[in-house]
């Protein structure tokens, strides 16, 4: 008799736990408007990344097409995987002195691990982390970028 009682208890108890599980999912099943996902390409306009979000390395330029990079190459040294190449050139300043400035700040997005070390290393805050998150391209070579814009100059007052 006791065995039979236990048997029935087991069956009903098992059933009860199953019903509880159904209750949890049922709560969401019958409120289908409470979804948590986002419709991605539609909300592209509104989608705001957090300010510290690391999407890519960029070099901000001001309205006169001037940047802050002195071409010191510290970011190249700090980068763990060689994503940055600095090509500098020497020019003659007005007072006839020779000076090395940045020619090309080459950045390989395809190799970058977005570790933020280059940004920390830069003494003049010339590079920062950008917020762009759609990096898909049709050709891998498009991932290699030159960060200083053509014809750009170094800002006044940035010392070596």
């Amino acid at each position: 008799m006791k065995a039979l009682f236990n048997y029935i208890k087991e069956v009903l108890g098992g059933f009860y736990t199953l019903l509880q599980g159904l209750g949890v999912t049922g709560k969401y099943l019958f409120t289908p408007w409470n979804y948590v996902t986002q419709s991605y390409p539609e909300n592209r306009e509104k989608l705001q990344m957090f300010e510290r979000f690391r999407g890519e390395v960029i070099m901000p330029h001001n309205e006169n097409n001037e940047h802050k990079c002195t071409g010191c190459g510290l970011c190249e040294l700090a980068c763990p995987n060689g994503s940055i190449e600095i090509i500098s050139k020497s020019i003659l300043t007005e007072d006839g002195k020779k000076k090395r400035i940045i020619d090309k700040h080459i950045y390989h997005l395809g190799m970058c691990t977005l570790c933020n070390l280059c940004v920390r290393a830069c003494p003049s805050d010339a590079i920062i982390m950008g917020q762009k998150y759609e990096h898909a391209v049709y050709n891998r070579s498009n991932l290699t970028k030159v960060l200083n814009k053509p014809g750009s100059k170094i800002m006044e007052g940035i010392k070596e």
């Binding site: 736990t17 509880q20 209750g23 957090f50 510290r52 690391r54 700090a78 691990t113 570790c115 933020n116």
Partner: protein, 377 residues
């Protein structure tokens, strides 16, 4: 026909062969590129042989050519679910070697981040376990609740998985002003949602029947195989590094090291759920008391460790994670070795699965909580 009859009635003429099934490297329940060669008899597993190395990336060797601040970011990519603990282990090791005392604020923030990472990792583990058992919906509930944590990380660290938030001597940034509020919101939210996990999966009679008494790991075996983390503690092996060798702010907080004695799949599951409750308690004790101060001490431009050997262990979400650095006084390590919990936990699998069904193999594997890059490195 006569031939067949002869074969059937003279069974010694039937050629038998072991029945091998390859689970992986491309298989939904190995959670990565792990290959398990299972020897079966019908549905019953005779033995298994894990084959690893499909995504070996040579991180230890790579570290030898990188400077100390640079190599931290590689540890994110090993056990990507406890990236923060891995980062911290390396930083602690370097700081101990240089005898740098980090500010209290750093310790508190690191501990909070550790525990958040632990919760996030256990959530993802919970999703995957449910899915391995055939309950698809758990996957989405777990990910839904993990999202607020990832938002917290993204706001403060700038990334969702590979944070690289620790640097030798402190942190990369100070916490975001919203940090405390968001963490508290999350704890409030998750305290409501966690019981749902119990009702949906662990309270369920099917789940209990499937996991209780399955894949029992004794305490002696756990110690012998070096199984740590919740998997080891389910067998009664007290191995919580946070308690045994406290680091960062763990000495200041009160929490329990959850232990069980059964060592079966169900308790390995249950302990992780309980750890989430404990983690929330730890965070609650710290979050309002983060002391003011610097978020990093000023380190030299080029960090050189003194000659010698240094070891530091932390409790990652999967068990004891250790960093062993041999330095010859240069700016990069002479040799660097990671003791990863997943590696030891994987190889005990063969002991656990003898005589279980294939479906149980998947369940046991799920509760060992394997992360493949952690094993392969």
């Amino acid at each position: 026909m006569a031939e067949y009859r002869e074969i059937i009635f003279n069974s010694d003429k039937i050629q038998t062969d072991d029945y091998f099934v390859n689970i992986g490297p491309q298989h939904p329940s190995t959670h990565g590129a792990l290959r398990i060669v299972a020897k079966l008899e019908g549905e019953i597993v005779q033995s298994i042989d894990p084959v690893i190395g499909y995504i070996h990336s040579g991180i230890e060797k790579m570290c030898e050519s990188l400077s100390y601040p640079q190599l931290i970011h590689l540890t994110d990519r090993m056990d990507y679910l406890s990236a923060h603990m891995n980062n911290e282990a390396v930083c602690l090791c370097i700081e101990n070697a240089l005898q740098v005392e980090v500010p209290e604020r750093v310790k508190y923030i690191r501990t909070i981040m550790d525990e958040l990472t632990r919760i996030a990792s256990h959530q993802l583990w919970w999703c995957a376990t449910g899915m391995d058992m055939g309950a698809m919906t758990t996957f989405f509930y777990g990910l839904r609740d993990r999202e607020p944590i990832l938002d917290i990380f993204e706001e403060t660290c700038g990334a969702r998985m590979t944070f690289n938030y620790n640097v030798p001597g402190g942190l990369m940034f100070d916490i975001h002003p919203n940090f405390q509020k968001r963490v508290k919101d999350f704890i409030r939210y998750f305290r409501k949602k966690l019981p749902e996990y119990d009702t949906l999966l662990s309270g369920n009679v099917i789940f209990k029947e499937r996991t209780k008494g399955l894949g029992v790991l004794s305490k002696e075996e756990a110690i012998a195989w070096g199984v740590t983390g919740p998997s080891g503690r389910a067998s009664g092996y007290s191995c919580d590094v946070r308690k045994l060798h406290p680091y960062s702010a763990y000495p200041y907080v009160k929490f329990e090291e959850k232990l069980a004695t059964d060592g079966d799949t169900f308790w390995r599951y249950q302990l992780r759920i309980e750890e989430m409750w404990e983690s929330m308690k730890i965070i609650e004790q710290l979050i309002d008391n983060i002391p003011e101060g610097d978020f990093a001490v000023k380190m030299k431009g080029v960090i050189k460790l003194p000659e010698g050997e240094f070891y530091q262990r932390v409790e990652s979400a999967r068990g004891e994670f250790g960093v062993f650095i041999v330095s010859d006084g240069k700016k990069n390590p002479y040799r660097l070795k990671f003791r990863s919990p997943g590696f030891s936990n994987l190889f005990v699998l063969n002991e656990l699965v003898k005589g279980v069904k294939i479906a149980d193999l998947v369940a046991i594997m799920a509760t060992l909580d394997l992360v493949i890059p952690d094993i392969d490195r």
